[in-house]
Amino acid sequence: MVAAFFTDVMLQPLGIYVLALGAGFLVPLFDRAHRGSAMLVFMGSLAGMVAIAALNLYAIINGAAVIDIETAGIAPPFAINLRFGLFEGGVVLAVNIAALLGAWHYLPSLKQHASALLLYLILVMGINGMVMTRDLFNLFIFIEITSIATYALIGMERTGTVLAAGFKYIIATSVATAFFLLGTIFIYYQVGTLNIDDIISHGALIHGPIGLIATLFVLTSLLIELKPYPANGWGLDVYETANSGIASLISVGVSAGVFFALFKLLPLMDAYLDSIAVVAGATFLLSNIIGLKQHNAKRLLGYSSIGQMGLLTLALVLLEQLDAGAQIALVVGGLFVNHLLAKAGLFWLAGIVDRTNIKDWASIARRPELLILLGLMFAALIGLPPFPGFWAKWELVMLLGSADQYGWILLVLLGSLLEAAYLFRWFSHARKRDDELTEHVCSFWQPAPVAIAAALLVAIGFGMAGTMDLDVPAMFLPLLAGFGLWLIDGLPARVKQLAMLLAVAAGGYWLTQELTGINQLFSYLLVAGGLLISIATIYRNDVRNGFYPLLAVLLLSLAALLRASTTLEFFFSWELMTLSSYLLITLARAGIKPALAYLLFSLGSAYFIFAGFAAAFASTGSILLADLGNVSSPGLVFSLLAAGFVIKMGGFGVHIWLPDAYAEADDDFTAMLSAVVSKAGIFGLVIIAAQLGIRSDIGLDPAYVLGWIGILTATFGALMAVFQEDIKRLVAYSSMGQLGYIVTGVALMSHLGWVSALYLTVNHFLFKGILFLSIAGIVLRTNERLMYKMGGLIKNMPVTFVFTMIAIIAMSGVPPLTGFGGKWMLFNALMEKGWYWIAALAFFSSAVAFLYMFRLLQTVFLGQRKLEHAKLREAPAILLVPQVVMIAAIMAISAYPKLLLDPLSAAINPWIANTLVWDGFALQTHYGYWNAPLIMAIVGGVWMVPLIILLLVSLTMKIQKVEQFNIVYAAERPHRPEDTHFAYNFFAHYDRAIGFLVRPRATAFWNAVIEWSHTLGSSLRVFYNGNGQTYALFILMYFVAMVLFNGGLGS
């Protein structure tokens, strides 16, 4: 009998109500007896709700029928009925889980009054009811129950601020619900039933002004409950002031219920889909803009929450419009779960950390677990892989693309970018090691709910990945490796380094083994090269928490990028690479601020690529990279993708993130960034060029523009490098310039152009790797980055000097080393193409490059050595080892370029017919010829002969090796190395001549952009003046506006 009751009632969805009400009665009783047991009952009943929802959902997923509960045993419409279908089940389960975890977090403050426990239960039950009920009036009742419970919970607080916010909330929602009631009754008046299904089936009966008013009242009050801009100040105030537990439940639970109600009633709203979309889209975008100005943690979360609800509504409506009902589960469901868990988790985190101003969040800088949770939640919110939001956004954008809704795509991506801006700014604040801030203390168990939420997010994201067509093991390998290494992050550095190298080697090999063609070439460059450079990381043996796992993630995601066969896989790995490199930059002490810029620009580039892929999908309907070539509008797709890749490579105008990021990152990681990571952009560029660029119908224009961008990047990169004092910034700018040549080479869309581009790519990898590793050694020894504070180091670090010199000759393009080949081929290709102006600029920029190259050698290695540097030792051997390998490669390629050129041209031949003509050792082009081995021999000869002569002559002389101050100093003697070493502002005269070209205009522009957006934000939030009546007025005006907008007067 009991068992029967158990199975028939308790395990049914109805059991949720039974549990809630039953526990509601029991809690006060137990509370009288014993507080602990009351809490036990409370948690038990919540857990029970979760269990019931889970069991029934499981049953339904396994094909059980949708459960219809008819109260009082009478069929609808004569009695209220509830429904527990797939969607209801999912939402209910999610909400209950959030409620359970929220209760865990909220318990400390809940348990002060037993009634609070009761109210919490009622609140949860109300949400469940909103989701399940199929009766319009019943929906109203559940809304009110939820609201009352919420009011009461807020009212529990004693502080005036919270109460005031609560009162505004009450006023606002009660006005809204009053209208809901009116709408309901008018609908009943016309349809004669309250059962939602019947109403929908007799939707035709809703007609005339009354019908319009009725539906609009219902719709608008639901929208109001979802807090649309600008009628949402009341919600923000509650988010800001209320306890994090209640705020989280309002943000995810109540909104979820209302949102689902909207979803249920949507069939009635067909006429108003557009206005809903506009409202939702505006809310998403504008609340994210306003978020930029916000520094109050919980209010910021409120803005983000409102924005996310807007995005959800927008997605729902757009899918409805494109009648892509099939994807609702994936897109809306994904976004919903993402928002639910991440936002709830963030509210709880805010409760735990309990710092109002996000600038004070540095207090958790030394709490890695809190930081990781924060980062995970943020990543999930802006839809980075592997979280559900990523897949949902991907699907959404693809759908929008295929419907040519580019405006909406722009809005979604822009909003996400803004959200990323303020969320990760917050993360940067939290990362700052600010010592005077008191460190945050919290018990070990306090973050547990957040952790569980994060785990659920990852798990769901992983699950969703299974439903996409995606090579899951390959794509998740980086994360897996990173996780594994993170587990052993406590071990000594040497062990971690070894494990990292092994993991990358094995994983990289497995990922890239069966690649061919260009991908294979890049796999040597990115994976093998990355491995080579990461050997250098051994030169440090401090702890470096998180460095090695992230490095593994980075390198393996690069490998996965090469392996990607679909745009989805490509984008997935791309985002993974962006995220991991961002975090790696933040690991450096001063790297946090530049890292933010790096991340934002990288996300910008990623979104360009995203849009490009969407456009491609729109025209081909396939996400295979191989099908990119068949798009009907190659110009658009090419431009979008190229823009993305150029941003990632620090193209002219969007380069401002590059120098700071390169300069402030860890020294060995800078080498990785410049030599390896930057190649990802080149890879993408080459791929799309191969797929789209050589299409005849694309027209030369995008490629020509790309060529100009490339050469301008090269020129200005070189010019700006000339005026740097910081050695790393100098080489960073030079990196930018060199990449510019490569962009131009790719843009040439000719065989020779591509060969030169790839050749330059390999060359750039070699010499930039050497340069940055030598710099790492120098900085390690001198603890300086300003070049004028060094000097004369050739005496202490001869090996480093020689390596640097070779690298610089290889970069400068002076024969006989590799650089010349690249320049020669590029020049020939440019002439063949007839791009004479670009050729001239290329010539000029490579001449300018000499200035900074010489400055680097002169001011660091030559000139006067400082007294304190007299005892410096040579750079550590482990830093030199990779350099030796790269020097060897440079020498080999210089002496015998065929070694490199044959595979390069073989990789290109599938796309463009080979044009390399070999005459013996000499490479022939239409214009000229280049016989590298002979050049090498001649240069060797003409260098050896005078050397021998000089040695012979030296035999007849007494040559005295002298010290640094034995110089002709106008019949005086030098006094301090500092004032004898000509290094600071080395090219002052050059600055006087053409310095006006390199005043930081791009920086000024981007700063202005930041300024504008913040100003816009502050002017958009004037509505939130904190006055409850103003808020109520806005709500009223919202109703009026909706009615007018939807032709209320017309009909």
Partner: protein, 308 residues
């Protein structure tokens, strides 16, 4: 094979000898002309040789380090190499050198080889004046490279080749085929750049014998110095040969070579004797204005030639 290459090397050695001797002679000759302008007699013709020998016969020297020691070697290697890649006399196997190794682009880039090595050597001397001189010289170089590059591009468009031999071949058959007449715009730009290249006044600030005693070579002396003065003669002559090949129809014999190069050199000398010195930033701005403009025009001109 071996014989062939030894032959080539022997030929090149001969060319090297002749060009160097000619360069030294030219230096003295120009000195004497300047002297005449100033109403003096001037140095004997063999003076440059004596100076070089004198420096070789120095018995003491100092060294600031291995890069300082190698600087002059790099310098003269740059000179010799540049010559090695240029065919000196058209149609003569003996004087074609190793021009089969690379084209005009190689020559232009190899010119930097010596300058870079020299700069490093001077840098290690630790003398501030060296660094200043090099900083000025390099900046000026980037400036005059612009009109020069434009002119080169223009004639590459015109002759549709980068091979110096072919460029010369295209100018054979009468003075009217010389670039200076067929593409005078490019020649004008290039000759303006040439003023900067030779490093005579008004573009000799980076040597500035008074303010920064003779700039980069301040610390060099003895054998180092003689290497460098040898190179100065050789490199100067090489540049003349290059300009003659590119713009003045090359030479079919030694006499023609000498007359033409002498005339080309005279341009720089006349300007140098007539004009005072530019400050380096003035020099840079100068090259970025009129000469660059002319260079741009020269490319347009060449394209018009192609179309018509």
């Amino acid at each position: 094979m071996i014989a062939e290459w030894t032959g080539k090397i022997a030929n090149f050695a001969l060319t090297l000898l002749i060009v160097t001797a000619y360069g030294l002679f030219m230096t003295a000759f120009i000195e004497r002309i300047i002297a005449k302008v100033q109403g003096r007699i001037g140095i004997p013709y063999w003076q440059p040789v004596i100076n070089i020998l004198k420096n070789f016969f120095k018995r003491t020297a100092v060294s600031h380090g291995y890069m300082f020691y190698l600087g002059p070697v790099f310098r003269i290697a740059g000179g010799i190499g540049t010559l090695a890649f240029i065919p000196v006399i058209y149609g003569s196997e003996t004087f074609s050198n190793f021009s089969m190794a690379g084209d005009l682009f190689l020559v232009i880039y190899f010119m930097f080889f010596g300058q870079l090595g020299m700069a490093l050597g001077a840098g290690e001397s630790g003398h501030p004046y060296s660094a200043i001189g090099i900083a000025r010289g390099l900046s000026q170089m980037t400036a005059y490279e612009v009109p020069f590059a434009l002119a080169v591009i223009s004639i590459v468009i015109q002759y549709d080749t980068l091979s110096i031999t072919e460029i010369v071949a295209a100018q054979q058959g009468g003075w009217q085929n010389w670039t200076v007449f067929t593409n005078w715009v490019a020649t004008l730009a290039a000759m303006l750049a040439f003023l900067g290249m030779t490093g005579y006044s008004p573009f000799d600030i980076f040597l500035a014998p008074q303010e920064i005693p003779i700039g980069p070579p301040t610390e060099f002396h003895s054998a180092y110095l003689s290497f460098m003065s040898l190179n100065r003669a050789l490199f100067g002559a090489t540049k003349l040969v290059l300009f003659m090949n590119l713009f003045f129809g090359g030479a079919t014999g030694l006499i023609e070579l000498m007359i033409k190069t002498w005339l080309i050199y005279m341009v720089a000398i006349v300007v140098g004797v007539a004009f005072p010195r530019f400050r380096v930033d003035q020099a840079i701005r100068f090259f970025f204005k009129i000469p660059t403009l002319i260079g741009i025009m020269s490319i347009v001109y060449a394209q018009m030639m192609l179309t018509s």
